[in-house]
Symmetry: D2
Subunit: 371 residues, 4 copies
């Protein structure tokens, strides 16, 4: 049991602190013979990397991935894959204030209360920088999915920033990669840019966000009752991301407001198998994938580190006013998009391997026997 | 690794099908010397038990708990506790339709797709009846908490049924046990009763619900970065409950709409330690409890089994119209209240044991050294 | 994590005390569609059952297995299988002495030291009676192997009792089931019978034993580096059996005395794949099965409960002379034979499922490509 | 679940191949505030390091440890500790033969059969070089034991090399560190040196060994029934080491030859608690430590890589004669001494943490109440 790990057969353990020498992920259980090299992982890290535009923190690091084990002649060997990213831009500085003061809304105080010691440099282990290791591990998961379940596609995007939501009528898959918010609504993206500039520069504030992640092409039958459910593992995966405060599948929290008649996804027989009239379930029934798109959303709270002063205390109990001056994302949710994708990819791969182990991938037949 | 288990040191595995001879929970890792007997568990099962009023299914079973192991002379011994509930009211009947037809919104189709076999009687393993085993295990967790962390109190209640929500201004802790909805707003409870009667009898429909669970008195320091977070485990625990589609902690999904200034819980030094100006965080920072109330909500979708006809298919691919005539809860969320409480209690106990193991319970001091 | 469980994907948790109401095993991860009923398990329990002859304890219980879940219409469903055996012959008696006194060589004292409470009736959880649950779970493993790997055969037998060993020149597979010792050497069996009668009745003593278990027909490729090795899991499985003090694979402890030239199993190409000149390795290389017979031995210490007086102490620290009068096996190793078989079957099944999950069962080719 | 990990709360995952860029260990669950730096680990690595004398392989690498995470200002923080050792002496060479041919007694063939790919350079993941990572992790375990259980001392030594065993009458703790075999019998050590020189240079052979590891000062109460036993975990830990073929606790395999009267460790009340007349049990009763010395032995087979030709096959099925010319230990058991110590230390720490979590360290009292 490791509290810094996730996954059953595809098992990822991340390690490292924000301002230590390096951080990374130990990936165990990746199937053998999967084509993999640094470039296949770097592309996802570049997507998450800070400093690419003024919307995210100006910390400028290459986040270059090194594969230290588990790959031979361009293919995975079935042994643990060690992924390492050197921290190159930890500016030497006076951490005195941070060392003694607890930032409101931060893990500073709870780490201290739990451990009686904390690496306060840049937030240490609680920094969002940890998610770089998740994205790297997600790159391995994507490579394995490409080899084993080539039809699966995992896409994430932002659907809300603060009080501003996208207009689903303008949803455009192609727009996602064309704006710094991974926003599928180009008009919303333009509006968000203006808003975020004002928020950061003038309001000295930050803002929350809602991310949606969709997996297409996932075969029916992945998942398991009743605690190893696909949605249970997805919920845990997303909730484990820094600053996430809520997770929902399909209708999600709105399901509380629906009636059974409205919520039921009716079933019809299509040319290639069962089809559904709708997807209130978000692609999961009883914890097992139905073959529909898997759809989830998670909420990312606003960055706690802001330029506006907030009341707090020091370790010695005296009052302090906290103003965080460092380089911080005004909307940490933006970078949560590739992180959510990475976690989704890892969970799907994991359940594919589990299902293969437990059932051998046999499926109950639906429809008349092939003649 | 077991996909029918949850918990790290306090490890619960549930087993059993709705219409099999029995169901239960294997509870491993309960500390020794905890006073425990059947009565201490039965009280929680009685709270969840169906057939108590017309708001829940009329299946009438005593749900009598038997402790088969792990308890000696009224105390736990540190060995596995086996909890068994006999199924006594599985009416013999013709299951023919259910066996061949997939109910919309149900796990019928995904179990079949995954396993190529399913115990269709009463939903088998996917039945909400499985939650009786969770409530029994939660009874053990509560007994252990009472012995080890006597200040902890876990309470759940319904805050929404369909489109109808409670008025927080009328929130009354004492009202919760006085109505069949575990509703803290007595006026809302009266309204819900009328609505649910109509829904079931006239509309032949069902409805979703939102449950809130609060844990008071949880000490600071429980939880762990970064995948064994207290909120990660709570999210997984709640999402694993049948029909749950979303989970949120503190501000939850609404955190996406907030700014950092609004969301930060400012910290002050109180007479007995740190105090917070608000609880947007829901009592958890960086995955670790802060000492504030832990507050979560989860959404339960409306029961799929309704009297209104819905379109579906049979195993052979032919179209079918499904009308579920059996005894079913019009709002399965009602009975999810004690289930959510049970899961919360189990997770808190588990993290208390984990913390004791990993840190020995040492805490960083806040405030001036005692003179 | 459960300390009363073993297995990765085929996960068994046993529960129950010697003189409680029942004991059993929760079996999670059994593949679906495996034919299974009580009779298929009972046959193995009958093999282990005490009271069959004067060589084992006279406790006379039917040890009737009940399947409480996970099986539907004679086949496994992929959900947890609960196996229960009622304890029917716990004679009411005065346990006063046992309650206060620690038997030498027994877990009495360590259970008390660890937990500060112990179910002393019949040894409680530390009783060899727990192995009935293992044998039942092994019955499930055997059924699954029969369905999924039909060529696998697991056989155990006694090769040593006290200082008396079998003569390998007289090894006869057919003899094993024809004597109460599961001894493959009929002459040794006759001698052992006389010896054990004398030991029990006249010498008031007990004696140790060595068990060998062989698995034939296990395909190459099961196991994994470097802590999930097949031999690692076999060693753990056997060492977890009551009274076992040593485990060895292939040459085992004798490998310390060999040279590399003597120990190497040379490889030749046979008509159906690689063949080996010998099997010093016991069928496992680098933690992975080679296709040869898997051969292990484990040593069972003599029963601590004997009629000869031994010095000990009571809980209050006063000296006591312990004479155990109850019904006890003079050679508990005899009944360890079916237990060792059960554990071997469970480990092999588990690694078959693991391998299927992790590699999909793909194998490196040896030999010329098929033309 | 990770097949490259061991431990429950103190969880170690090793990674890396013999000739890859680096290898290491991810150590999760180390308690916070343990003093730790590179030097504290390096001392154990230096003990295991090859090239120190002519008894071990001449591969000459500094095996310099780097701590990449989890330590702050000289103390552990409770977050994962990443330990890395760069591989600096992988001579570039022609691996052609090894790539296509399976060495007898080696994992070459089973890795190929399982994965269909293998990093053949220096044995890849199956190389004994992996044990450097174990020793590093063991260094962390030792540091934590020193902080939490300062009385515990773990010592290993060789008691047999080939057919040559030590004379226990000459056992001298101080001799262990004074010869290249970690042999407690100085006369035997001298004899072994001559023998091993001849074996390597003239006989072109290798030889097996028996290692004994003793832990003193382990408190009573560590371990747990019935699969999380202390001896179960020790057996697994030792069997997981490369080339180990057998493990035994206390009397071990010899227990099969004893009678109950001879084997029982009688108990007496000493001034500070229970004392035992002997230690046949090896310090463990019912899977739980008794406070006596924990004593185990494990057998290491002779190195398979020898200069004498052995028959084998190539991947294409053709016959090959294998002569291994590289740098190889004639007795790999020598370097297994610090590895066995490291595993013992890790298991004891793990069970200390587990016990603290599960029981809070409460103990049953033995002796009269303090007046």
């Amino acid at each position: 049991m490791s509290l810094n790990s996730y996954g059953h057969l595809f098992r990822v353990t991340t390690w490292g602190e924000s301002h230590g020498p390096a951080l990374g992920a130990t990936v165990d259980g990746c199937p053998p013979n999967v084509p993999l090299d640094e470039a296949a992982i770097q592309v996802w890290l570049d997507k998450r990397r800070p400093g690419q535009n003024r919307m995210t923190t100006q910390r400028n690091e290459p986040d270059a991935i090194e594969i230290l084990s588990g790959v031979f002649e361009g293919k995975t060997t079935g042994t643990p894959i060690q992924l390492m990213i050197r921290n190159t831009d930890q500016r030497s500085r006076d951490y005195g204030d941070i060392a003694e003061t607890f930032r409101p809304g931060h893990a500073d105080i709870t780490y201290w209360q739990k451990y009686g010691i904390r690496d306060y440099r840049g937030g240490g282990r609680s920094s969002a920088r940890e998610t770089a290791a998740r994205v790297a591990a997600g790159g391995v998961a994507r490579a394995a999915l490409a080899a084993l379940l080539p039809g699966v596609e995992v896409r994430g995007y932002m659907v809300q920033m603060g009080e501003k939501t996208i207009d689903r009528a303008r949803f455009d898959w192609d727009a996602i990669d064309r704006n710094p918010f991974w926003c599928p609504d180009p008009e919303a993206a333009t509006e968000w840019e203006t808003y975020l500039d004002w928020l950061r520069k003038d309001d000295h504030n930050s803002v929350g966000a809602m991310i949606e992640v969709v997996a297409r092409g996932v075969p029916a039958g992945l998942g398991a009752p009743v605690y190893g459910k696909l949605d249970t593992d997805l919920a845990a995966a997303m909730m484990s991301i820094n600053a996430v405060k809520g997770v929902e599948i399909g209708e999600g929290m709105a399901a509380a407001g629906l009636t059974g008649r409205a919520n039921a996804d009716e079933i019809f027989m299509g040319p290639e198998g069962p089809e559904f009239s709708s997807n209130h379930a978000g692609g999961i029934l009883g914890g097992i994938s139905s073959g529909q798109d898997i759809v989830l959303r998670f909420a990312v709270k606003p960055t706690s580190s802001i330029l506006s002063p907030r009341a707090s205390i020091r370790k010695d109990g005296t009052a302090a006013e906290v103003v965080t001056k460092g380089r911080h994302d005004p909307c940490v949710g933006i970078r949560a998009v590739p992180v959510g994708e990475a976690m989704m990819a890892a969970v799907i791969l994991d359940h594919f391997l589990l299902d293969r182990g437990q059932t051998g991938g046999t499926r109950g037949q639906i429809g008349p026997p092939a003649s």
